[in-house]
């Protein structure tokens, strides 16, 4: 028998916990709850959940602090679920190691899709040699990109940009994360590089199809590669 996936909800609002439990149980998860940041941290250590839904406004400590503590010893996928919807807050959480950020009020179907995507991370990290999403096919071994079967020529920079997005397919990647991985630490503040190259990449990837945008802009935060099935 396959073991159920486990999810931990860290939120101080009882009603939100009840409703999240209902939604996650409906999506075949076993659900645990914690009311405070401290309790959340010890539950994560004890239960080893497959995914954590973390609120930022906790009574005992800020959710961001919980996340930073947590990232010192665990790489469990973490989804931030918060009423705070300013880009700065989102970027801070994502840069601190959150896998995604959903604002309250949330759409349950979208939330569950993000939970699925966050958990899928481990699959790409284990080194699938070929990535396929809709018409896009990336062969990491051959450094080859195909769109609907037709090979697309990318410059080395465009390719590494696409690779980072593909490795995080379905998840938002912040400007800083992209700049650091593709151009190196010193380029972290050079957001204009990113805009130029994303525009190039989009032209090459989307110029030939009518498909909706593959690379989605998250205003003020970063980019997300659409996998078409989230």
């Amino acid at each position: 028998m396959k073991l159920k996936r486990t999810a931990l909800i860290v939120d101080d609002e009882k009603q939100i916990r009840r409703l999240l439990r209902l939604a996650l149980e409906g999506a075949d998860h076993q659900v645990f709850e914690a009311e405070t940041g401290q309790a959340g941290l010890s539950e994560i250590a004890y239960r080893r959940p497959d995914v954590v839904l973390l609120d930022l406004g906790l009574p005992d400590m800020d959710g961001l602090k919980v996340l930073k503590h947590l990232r010192e010893w665990s790489d469990v996928p973490v989804l931030i679920l918060s009423v705070r919807d300013e880009p700065d807050e989102k970027v801070a959480a994502l840069d601190a190691g959150a896998d995604d950020y959903v604002t309250k009020p949330f759409d349950t179907a979208e939330l569950l899709a993000r939970v699925r995507v966050a958990q899928r991370r481990s699959l790409t990290e284990t080194g699938e040699p070929v990535f396929q999403a809709g018409p896009l096919c990336v062969d990491f071994a051959a450094r080859q990109v195909k769109l609907a079967g037709v090979e697309i020529k990318l410059t080395p920079t465009e390719y590494s940009l696409l690779r980072v997005l593909v490795q995080n397919a379905g998840k938002v990647v912040t400007h800083r994360q992209l700049l650091r991985t593709v151009w190196g630490e010193k380029a972290e503040s050079q957001a204009q590089y990113l805009r130029v190259y994303v525009t190039h990449l989009r032209k090459k990837l989307e110029g030939t199809t009518d498909a909706p945008s593959l690379i989605k802009t998250e205003v003020g935060i970063g980019y997300r590669l659409s996998t078409g099935n989230e």
Binding site: D12, E13, Q15, I16, R18, L19, L20, L22, A23, G26, G57, P59, D60, V83, R84, K104, P105, F106, D107, T108, A109
Partner: protein, 373 residues
């Protein structure tokens, strides 16, 4: 959410005014130098004119600490002139004979000007950084407040959204009525909470813009208390409430809705803090031309330094507990004050808190009303 470090007034105090107004500063500079000159005149026979320059320098330093740049420079220039004219031989001329005197004078003049300008700069920088700090603090408070309001509004909205989406998903499976009922209840609870938050914000706004005018009618106090109890039945959650009303309670001329809400807030507050199965007690009566209504609990009571703060808007006694904007008591006080009354808090003998509404309102024996009717 408010940080546990505790509440602060929402608006920062106005920036401190400079110690003295500009014109007065120049006057102080002038009279300071004059006083110093007289003093030096008196002590010159004892110390000689060379030491006088040090006394004048001290004066400039002192001026730098309390005055702004212009008056400090005036102090420096005036004392240089005074020293040269009155003390350096030949006296009563600006002429200097000895080379060493000229050197001392030049050095003195430069030091005085530099000190004056430096201390003034330092003070200006201090003033600026204090202002920046104040602005940052006020920005932080504004953000905290906004966070708190958006949390209180969006949390029930999120619950309503999630429950109704789940309801749509679950509805085709009509056999499972338990889940349908649970989801509907969730929506109900959340909309009640949302309603309370929105009403609180609107009431606060009404109070602040001064449009709350009590519509005073003759009210039966017992009826008023009972309807307040009915409003808070859920938050009382079965806790015993003891009513101690003086017999033949007269009718009171108050705004039914406003006073009812003030009492309901006190009840909810008492229910929140009462410990164990201790009852809540309500006393009401007419004493010394005032109608007094008090609500008492056997909770942990109030810290003496917080007794007035709990009535501040957006103050929450336990910021770590989620829920609530910290407006309830402040609105209740506003409603009572709109009647010309007072709402106060105190600790009871034997533990717990007591909140008392005191209204200077006309009362009338119930029987006289009936005879009029």
């Amino acid at each position: 959410m408010l940080e546990p470090s505790g509440p602060r007034p929402i608006y920062p105090p106005p920036a401190e005014a400079p110690i003295f107004a500009p014109l007065r500063q120049y006057l102080i500079a002038f009279s300071g130098v004059a006083a110093l000159t007289i003093f030096c005149w008196l002590v010159t026979p004892l110390v000689g004119y060379g030491a006088i320059s040090l006394i004048f320098l001290l004066g400039v330093l002192l001026a730098g600490m309390i005055l702004s740049r212009g008056p400090v420079l005036l102090t420096a220039a005036l004392s240089a002139l005074s020293w040269n004219f009155l003390f350096i031989p030949p006296r009563f001329t600006l002429h200097i004979e000895k080379v060493e005197d000229a050197l001392t004078f030049a050095t003195y003049f430069i030091i005085a000007l530099t000190v004056g300008s430096l201390t003034a700069q330092l003070k200006e920088r201090e003033h600026l950084s204090a202002q920046v700090q104040l602005a940052q603090e006020s920005e932080r408070l504004r953000k905290t407040l906004l966070d708190c309001v958006s949390h209180e509004l969006k949390t029930p909205l999120a619950a309503i959204g999630a429950a109704s989406q789940e309801l749509v998903r679950a509805a085709p499976n009509v056999q499972n009525t338990a889940i349908l009922r649970q989801l509907a209840t969730e929506i109900q609870d959340a909309s009640r909470r949302l309603n309370r938050v929105v009403n609180n914000l609107l009431d606060m706004n009404r109070l602040e813009s001064g449009v709350v005018r009590p519509k005073q009618e003759w009210c039966d106090l017992r009826e008023l208390l009972e309807s307040a109890l009915e409003i808070e039945r859920e938050s009382l959650n079965g806790r015993e409430v003891r009513l101690d009303l003086s017999a033949n309670l007269p009718l009171a001329l108050v705004d039914h809705t406003l006073i009812e809400q003030a009492i309901a807030t006190l009840l909810a507050n008492a229910a929140n803090h009462a410990t164990g199965r201790s009852p809540i007690e309500i006393d009401a009566g007419y004493f010394d031309d005032r109608l007094l209504i008090s609500v008492s609990d056997r909770g942990p009571g109030l810290k003496p330094e917080l007794i007035e703060r709990i009535f501040e808007k957006f103050y929450r006694a336990d910021a770590r507990k989620s829920g609530g904007l910290g407006l309830g008591l402040s609105i209740a006080r506003g409603f009572v004050e709109a009647h010309g009354g007072t709402l106060t808090a105190e600790n009871r003998d034997g533990g717990g808190a007591r909140f008392t509404i005191s209204l200077p309102v006309p009362v009338r024996d119930a029987s006289t009303i009936e005879s009029h009717a």
